[in-house]
């Protein structure tokens, strides 16, 4: 793995490795041990295609977890379809890829843009925000989430009005103007869909502005869930992170997720990841489907995948006809955390969905739940 996203790519691989180790310890699949062959996706779509070509034509891989990036997913899909390679996506969230014919051999276990939108809708409901602002990096997935959000608000009975929405180039680092506009329009809440470093750049500047730092903000798909990032924001603006919520695209399953993270802690030294659980689930689901099909023929396995009803550390997975996970209560929802500072330490408290929440979202100004 290379590049700035190598650590999260490693976690995908490690999640898959844990599943393979467990399956092999129980006799493998169809009596054979599973083996992982990995390739670095690299920094461009051409390196991703090259990696897929090596895996399929040289290593004769039939089942693939990944690629990681949506752009790379789109680039390799025709090649994988042509070779009938069964692909399971655990990171890329774009829904529009999941259409015929290419989704015939493509399934998604990880985050989905409906799920990302649901996180925002749940947050607006929780904070009783009468108005909100939607900000995203200017990529396909954030436009999808925007449309799904507007569709879901009435569906979930959430009465929150969009004041304005804006998209920023993925290479942007300075968000002063966006934050000034938020300060000027003063919404009840802000939804931010920026992945990776963009969300950290944004939130540092957001909490620096005295006029915005007290407006609750939800960051979806952010590395802020990692303690070092949250601490860097806290160091830049002490107390500034008080009104920050995190929308994590992975689910929490009591007893199952905790057990999984005990394992990652033991094996790899981390007890929180939004990438490893879905990769683990992807391998387990795939192995179950191969076992169910009784063959490694990918057409038969793809049919068997549709019978999946699996609950693992990343959530409860049942596939829709588009091969994306069913989104909603009891299925995949994602998780909303409120960042809370207690005695100088930062805690991510689980505030949604309600059946796994261990904390009620509070307004730091009053110490009471939002009204």
């Amino acid at each position: 793995m290379s590049g700035s996203y190598a650590p999260s790519g490693e976690q995908v691989l490690q999640g898959a490795e844990l599943a393979v180790a467990q399956i092999n310890s129980q006799g493998g699949v169809l009596g054979h041990p599973l083996k992982i062959v990995s390739q670095d996706e690299g920094p461009t779509t051409s390196t991703a295609i090259q990696a897929a070509q090596i895996l399929v034509t040289q290593d004769h891989v039939q089942f693939l977890i990944g690629p990681y990036w949506s752009g790379d997913v789109a680039a390799v899909m025709p090649f994988l379809y042509q070779h009938k390679v069964l692909e399971v996506l655990t990171v890329s969230a774009v829904d529009s890829f999941m259409t015929p014919p290419y989704n015939a051999y493509t399934f998604r276990v990880g985050e989905d843009d409906h799920q990302n939108a649901l996180l925002g809708v749940a947050f607006l409901n929780m904070t009783h925000a009468g108005t909100f602002v939607y900000l995203g990096e200017d990529y396909l997935w954030t436009h999808e989430v925007y449309n799904f959000t507007l569709q879901m608000l009435p569906q979930y009975g959430v009465n929150s009005t969009l004041l304005w929405a804006a998209y920023y180039p993925g290479t942007a680092t300075d968000y002063s103007s966006a934050i000034a506009r938020i300060a000027a329009t003063h919404p009840g809440a802000v939804l931010v869909y920026m992945s990776g470093e963009n969300s950290v750049d944004f939130i540092k500047q957001y909490v620096s502005n005295p006029a915005t730092r007290n407006i609750p903000v939800l960051l979806v798909d952010t590395p802020l869930i990692l303690p070092s990032y949250a601490q860097s924001v806290q160091a830049a603006v002490p107390g500034g992170i008080n009104y920050v919520f995190i929308g994590a695209p992975s689910d929490y399953v009591p007893g199952v997720t905790d057990k999984f993270f005990a394992l990652t802690q033991e094996e790899y030294g981390y007890s929180s990841s939004i990438f490893a659980p879905d990769a683990y689930d992807a391998v387990m689901i795939l192995a179950g489907a191969i076992q169910g099909a009784g063959t490694t023929n990918t057409t038969a396995v793809a049919r068997a995948m549709m019978a999946t009803d699996y609950t693992g550390p990343g959530g409860h997975v049942v596939f829709t006809p588009q091969h994306t996970p069913v989104v909603g209560y009891g299925y995949k929802t994602g998780t909303v955390y409120q960042v809370v500072i207690r005695n100088g330490a930062i805690y991510d408290e689980r505030v949604w969905p309600p059946y796994v929440a261990n904390f009620t979202a509070v307004n730091p100004a009053t110490g009471q739940p939002y009204r």
């Binding site: 700035s4 190598a6 290479t171 750049d201 005295p210 860097s232």
Partner: protein, 294 residues
């Protein structure tokens, strides 16, 4: 839209542009003296942030001292890079030489990125600020770090201009940039001037890095976007012109600030298209012809 708000946005852009212009000035200085574009310039911006993190967080120096050490270390690093280059490539005598240096610097940039990637795991480092806090003017936040950074940038511009205008070494650099043969005939030693100019250029990039990365953070790939911005600014202001870099930085910063308010997703497209038109109308850049080199 209230005038005060637009004024504040422009002021925010001015602050951003002053710091960016400083990095562009380094690029311009190197181009003026060496005759080639330093494609590793963004890497030195990024290294500034890493060095500040190293000296302040890892080694425990106070932030102002860490900034000074990071900039001095970058200056020394810049000089060292020049002495590692083959003598015939230190000054581009032909287009082929210029291309070779550009490629060599590009290789250096990629190698450094991968090296730091391995050392840090690709993570963004929390670089400490000189000051914590902010004031808001008409809804626009001005962090103390940003204000101090802009003031330092303005002071460094003034000091650099004075150095190039008034000091003996500065005059030698300008003379060499304007006419190499004549300057050498008058006793200016080319390789020393080149090393010095490259060191100063790198130090300016690193200074931008130490001033901006506390606001934005830094990781091993942070330099690439900044390299493109620096290219745009020097092209706009005029290659080889210090004042041009200042002007270019300010225009870019204010333009970015206003455009990203009104049409955020088209900011870069409009900005780059406008700059393209300016270059078509005036190929030497805004200050390219009316100001002598530096």
């Amino acid at each position: 839209m209230p005038t005060a708000f637009i004024f504040s946005l422009a002021l925010s852009g001015l602050e951003y542009g002053l710091i960016l212009g400083l990095m562009a000035a380094g690029l311009s200085l190197i181009y003026g003296v060496m005759g080639n574009v330093n494609t590793a310039h963004g890497t030195f911006y990024m290294l500034g942030g890493f060095l500040l993190f190293l000296f302040s967080v890892a080694l425990g120096l106070p932030v102002p001292a860490a900034i000074a050490v990071a900039v001095i270390a970058s200056f020394a690093l810049g000089m060292a890079v020049i002495f590692v280059l083959p003598a015939n490539l230190r000054i581009a005598a032909s287009a082929d030489d210029a291309n070779l240096i550009m490629i060599a610097m590009l290789m250096l940039a990629i190698a450094v990125e991968y090296l730091l990637d391995m050392l840090t795991g690709g993570t963004t480092l929390p670089v400490p600020s000189l000051a914590v806090g902010a004031i808001a003017i008409s809804h626009v936040a001005f962090t103390y770090q940003g204000i101090i950074a802009a003031v330092i940038s303005a002071a460094v511009y003034a000091a650099l201009a004075a150095f190039l205008r008034c000091s003996r070494i500065g005059k030698a650099i300008r003379a060499y940039a304007q006419n190499r043969e004549l300057a050498e005939a008058l006793g200016v030693e080319g390789s020393r001037v080149v090393a010095l100019a490259f060191g100063i250029g790198v130090a300016l990039a690193a200074l931008s890095g130490v001033l901006l990365t506390p606001i934005y953070g830094v990781n091993s790939s942070s330099g690439w976007d900044m390299l493109v911005i620096a290219f745009v600014i020097v092209t706009l202001g005029g290659l080889g012109s210090l004042y041009g870099s200042l002007m270019g930085g300010v225009i870019y910063g204010i333009g970015y600030s206003l455009l990203s308010y009104y049409v955020p997703n088209y900011t870069y497209i409009i900005l780059l298209a406008a700059i393209y038109v300016i270059i078509i109308l005036k190929p030497t850049g805004i200050m390219g012809e009316i100001v002598e080199k530096f």
